[in-house]
Amino acid sequence: MFRSALVLILAVLGLLATTTMPAQESSTRINVSGSDTMNLLTQRFAEAYQAANPGVEISVRGGGSGVGINDLMEGLVDIAQSSRSMKPEEIERMKAGGKEVEEHIVGLDGLAVAVHVSSPVQELSLNQIKAIYTGSVQRWSQLNPEWPDERIIVYSRESNSGTYDFFKEHVLRGADFGNGISYLAATAAIANSVGDNRNAIGFGGIAYFVRVPNARIVAVSAGRGQAAVLPVEEGGTHPKYSVIQDGSYPISRPLQYYTTTTASPAAKAFLAWMKTPEGQKIVEQIEYIPLGDSALAGEKNDSSE
């Protein structure tokens, strides 16, 4: 009686072992964290990739590019999504921790500057944008006497976001953000707020602003005398790939993923898949800019070396 019970228990345990073990082996987990701007992109990537590769489980978490890079440093994630390049001191810290990083560019994003739809502002130079965001000018009329003599309502992302860092580096060129800027936690919130306030200005991924009917993206010129380039197609409902791929739009950035060189094969396979036509289609679907053919070709050469 006692013995048969023991046998039964052992049999059940054995059965459990055989059913759970293979499941554990075949399910691979890839952890991703970082840029909030890229969260949606990575989630779509993950959905499509998981559907095509059962057994792969991908968890995606936001928090900001800085958070993702920190997580990667501490070994908490396999992949960090980042809407800015890693800073030299971050690479140093990784090296100090005995880790090398690899960068994977999977698409491009143009940073749009947008105003309220009723605003007379059609184009701005990089310096004008800088003047607004450093607080050097407070009223529209200080930029152009024909514009209204009203206070500019300035929106920015919080300092933990890659968009903030990218903007500070490429538009403010190191200068500090000025007083009186409203810091919002998400680009979608900026787009909505710009659509709500007639004197507002905001920046962020183009995809977020084309969705808000009351926000209008302005053309940006690199300087006076240079042509202002509008990063959206006529009508303002779609990003214009060509001006961002060829670099004529002055504020664009790569969407990149970072891994350590010792990343799991699963993570590497996932990243490689993003650059396939299938992956690039997803980039396009959520209104980022896919890599141009030349960039893709270059990538291939790099990886074969």
Binding site: V67, N144, E150, D176, G180, A185
Partner: protein
């Protein structure tokens, strides 16, 4: 008509038969059973532990905050908590260029910059601005509501309204923040612009919207406390006033309210303290712009919102991180002092009314 209170039935207030003072004393001296005494001691001990734990927790929080906050004071000069030096950039409209015009001192909270600028003045402005506006709005509404509940409402109305008010206190503040953000802020801005206030009502999310949101939480607190304070005013005063021919309004306004005024003050200060500490509502709908603008319709950022928004980003041990602790320590001190004042007022008031 006799005004004498009829004596209670039976033996008129004497202790019940069979338990006179001598026997009671005897029983106490002999004591209770050992088991019961043990039980008493255990319960007493447990209560003591609970009390000690909460006291220790408060002491530890104080200690930790101040320990970390003081580090900030050792990392930056004290005057940097007030102002810092920034370069003056001017936009040249002819050249379309930024021109550097030397340096000036500026009051700016910009801890992510290099070097970090950590003037806490804009945050103090935000916190106190919102708390004062809230105090004004919720004092007017709260005292009125409390007086109504205590003096005018019928028992039926009161039985319905008071629990509702207390329910309002329990609504998660994030829900109120969301409500203000999604339902109130934008129509309010559009309305202000439509009546020609666009030069004054500049931000969609601003100090005023934040204050209204915080008031939703504070009004019931004040109303409920004012109601309690007024109800503890002896009925003799009301009776005397009414018998002299005063109306109910005159009685409430000139007799009951002044009699309970310290309780009302305590309620207001308590509300002010809660408004200073309120985080979620102001984070969501006060605009989140650390700036010093003497306009209640401009965006502001409070001390609490700064801690909530930035703690995740500030690297441990940086000036930024320590400054947030400094702000936290300041916040704790402020609310502590406010609560102390309330306690003092309430104590005085208890003595006066002889509760």
């Amino acid at each position: 008509m006799s005004l004498r209170i009829p004596p209670a039935a039976g033996n008129g207030g004497a202790p019940p038969p069979g338990l006179n003072a001598t026997r009671l004393r005897e029983r106490l001296r002999r004591g209770v059973s050992p088991f019961r005494r043990f039980r008493e001691k255990t319960v007493e001990g447990m209560l003591l532990v609970c009390g000690v734990i909460s006291t220790v927790a408060i002491v530890l929080i104080f200690f930790f905050l101040f320990k970390e906050g003081i580090k900030a004071a050792s990392m930056v000069e004290l005057d940097e908590f007030l102002y810092s030096t920034v370069s003056v950039l001017e936009y040249d409209i002819e050249l379309d260029e930024m021109v550097n015009k030397g340096e000036k001192t500026d009051i700016v909270w910009q801890p992510a910059s290099d070097p970090p600028r950590v003037s806490i003045v804009p945050l103090l402005w935000g916190s106190f601005g919102i708390a004062f506006l809230t105090a004004i709005i919720s004092t007017l509404a709260g005292v009125a509501a409390g007086t109504y509940l205590s003096e005018m409402a019928t028992k039926r109305t009161r039985d319905i309204v008071k629990p509702m008010l207390e329910l309002l206190v329990g609504i998660p503040t994030v829900v109120i923040g969301f409500f203000m953000l999604a339902v109130i802020a934008l129509p309010l801005y559009r309305f202000a612009v439509s009546i020609g206030l666009e030069k004054i009502y500049i931000d969609t999310y601003n100090m005023f919207v934040g204050s209204v949101g915080v008031s939703i939480v504070i009004i019931p607190v004040i109303a409920s406390l004012v109601d309690d304070a007024l109800r503890s005013v002896p009925d003799d005063l009301r009776a005397a006033s009414l018998s002299l021919g005063a109306t109910r309004w005159q009685t409430s306004w000139r007799v009951v309210l002044p009699a309970g005024i310290s309780g009302v003050f305590a309620a207001i200060i308590l509300g002010f303290g809660r408004a200073i500490g309120e985080t979620m509502i102001v984070l969501m709908c006060a605009g989140n712009a650390p700036q010093l603008v003497a306009n209640p319709f401009a965006a502001v950022r409070t001390m609490t919102a700064s801690i909530a928004a930035e703690m995740g980003t500030a690297g441990q041990g940086t000036i930024w991180y320590q400054s947030l602790f400094f702000v936290g320590a300041l916040l704790v001190t402020l609310t502590f002092v406010l609560n102390l004042i309330v306690e003092l007022i309430v104590n005085r008031y208890r003595k006066k009314i002889r509760l």
